[in-house]
């Protein structure tokens, strides 16, 4: 008799935490990087890639158990993917739904792509400010689309 093992690909629902949805396919891992989520991050995290989506064709989803992202962290997600939605789950119910939006100011997270920028030769925090559709380095004054900063 042939033994058949069924391993479902779907990820269990979370009771409390954050679900980041509508991430462009392939950018899920970048979202984790932007949020500073790595092996030392205390909570369980799932990245589901290439999920069929009516809106995007394919999308990535990130689920973070037990941690409700605050607005500042939610805005960082928009640097990776401006279409992402952030769902805060409490007691298995959707408690809050946010659309990611570019942050007014980001300190210390991003690296300036301008090789001649002083932040790439001095040991210091970078700083970017929202300027129209892009982010401007507070030091070298160059403006970049958010996609170039991640």
């Amino acid at each position: 008799m042939k033994l058949v093992i069924v391993m479902p690909l779907s990820v269990e629902k979370i009771e409390n935490g954050t679900v980041i949805d509508h991430i462009d396919a392939g950018l899920g891992l970048k979202v984790l990087g932007m949020l500073g989520i790595d092996r030392d991050f205390g909570a369980r995290v799932a990245v589901i890639m290439n999920v069929p989506s009516k809106k995007l064709g394919k999308k990535d989803i990130v689920k973070i158990e037990g941690v409700a992202l605050d607005s500042r962290k939610s805005d960082l997600v928009s640097l990776v993917c401006k279409n992402a939605t952030i769902n805060i789950i409490k007691k298995s119910e959707l408690a809050e739904k946010r659309q990611a939006r570019l942050p007014k100011k980001v300190s210390g997270v991003l690296r300036c792509p301008n090789a001649r920028c002083i932040t790439n030769s001095e040991s210091m925090e970078t700083e970017f400010e929202l300027d129209g559709e892009g982010m401007r380095c507070a030091f070298c004054e160059k403006k970049f689309p958010a996609s170039e900063l991640v």
Partner: protein, 300 residues
């Protein structure tokens, strides 16, 4: 007192105030009077400079301030000291810090680290705000006004920090700006869009020099070191050389400016022409920088 880091931080009224002060400083220079006592200006040049460094020193001394200077070749930065530490230390010795550094944004870093005002004397390819003040002052002195003039910027507009600052300054004063540069050395789109967006600048881009409607021809050198192919560099340099024949077709009253040093983009014979105002422009470096330092020192 705030420092002077970038033209992007300034409004037209700030620039106008500096230009008015520079006029007063010219009168002060003639009188020989000193208006500053017991103050120290530190000039911190992390890369070579002749005109900017010496004119800042001359300006400080003409005001009556003492000058301490920094030689990056023999300084602790060579031993690995951070820029922030160097600035904090020199900030303890002086009342104003003048800084030139190859790192873009270095003056902003210094400004945040220092308690005293910081003046940006050029940070990489980013900004050179006192050069812009000198350029605007020279145009005003030679032409009487800036608004409505057709100012043609010619040369390597991509790498020249003086040009990046100047476009914004000219835009604030309502000049008509024409940009002429070799292919690949055009001014950053971002600066053009900013000048148009923030200051409603009238900017035209051309492939070749046209002096028929030019009031101010502002030339900067083509930086040959940026070209992989030196034959191509020489070709471009020749194409953008301001010959005497070119000037025969110039609009009456046109003036020629250059941030200097000039190499061969303007032939020596042109130096004698009444159009050539670049040496006068360099000389205005002293009263303009007196105005900036005088203001930072609270003397004007």
């Amino acid at each position: 007192m705030e420092g002077l880091i970038s033209i992007r931080d300034c409004e037209k009224k700030d620039l106008e105030e500096y230009l008015k002060l520079a006029e007063k400083m010219e009168a002060l220079l003639k009188s020989g009077k000193k208006i500053v006592d017991n103050k120290i200006v530190a000039t911190m040049f992390f890369e070579p400079s002749t005109r900017t460094n010496m004119s800042f020193q001359a300006a400080a001394k003409r005001l009556g301030a003492d000058v301490i200077s920094f030689n990056s070749e023999s300084s602790s930065s060579k031993k690995g000291e951070s820029l922030i530490d160097t600035v904090k230390i020199i900030d303890g010795y002086a009342d104003v810090l003048v800084i030139r550094h190859p790192g873009e944004g270095a003056a902003r870093v210094a400004d945040r680290a220092a308690k005293h005002p910081v003046v940006n004397a050029g940070d990489g390819g980013n900004q050179h705000p006192t050069q812009t003040l000198i350029d605007l002052y020279t145009i005003k002195k030679c032409k009487g006004e800036i608004e409505g003039l057709n100012v043609q910027l010619v040369g390597d507009l991509k790498h020249a920090r003086a040009m990046r600052s100047l476009v914004l300054g000219l835009a604030m004063f309502g000049a008509r700006i024409t940009l002429v540069s070799p292919k690949g050395l055009e001014m950053d789109r971002e600066i053009i869009e900013e000048a148009r967006g923030r200051h409603k600048a009238d900017i035209e881009e051309l492939n070749a020099i046209d002096l028929s409607d030019c009031d101010v021809l502002y030339v900067c050198r083509v930086q040959k070191e940026r070209f992989a192919d030196q034959y191509e560099a020489a070709k471009v340099q020749h194409e953008f050389r301001i010959s005497e024949e070119y000037l025969e077709n110039a609009k009456a009253g046109m003036i020629i400016l250059h941030p200097l040093p000039k190499i061969d983009e303007i032939p020596e014979a042109v130096d004698e022409s009444p159009m050539a105002r670049y040496f006068q422009q360099a000389k205005y470096g002293v009263p303009v920088r007196m105005a900036v330092l005088g203001r930072m020192l609270g003397a004007v």
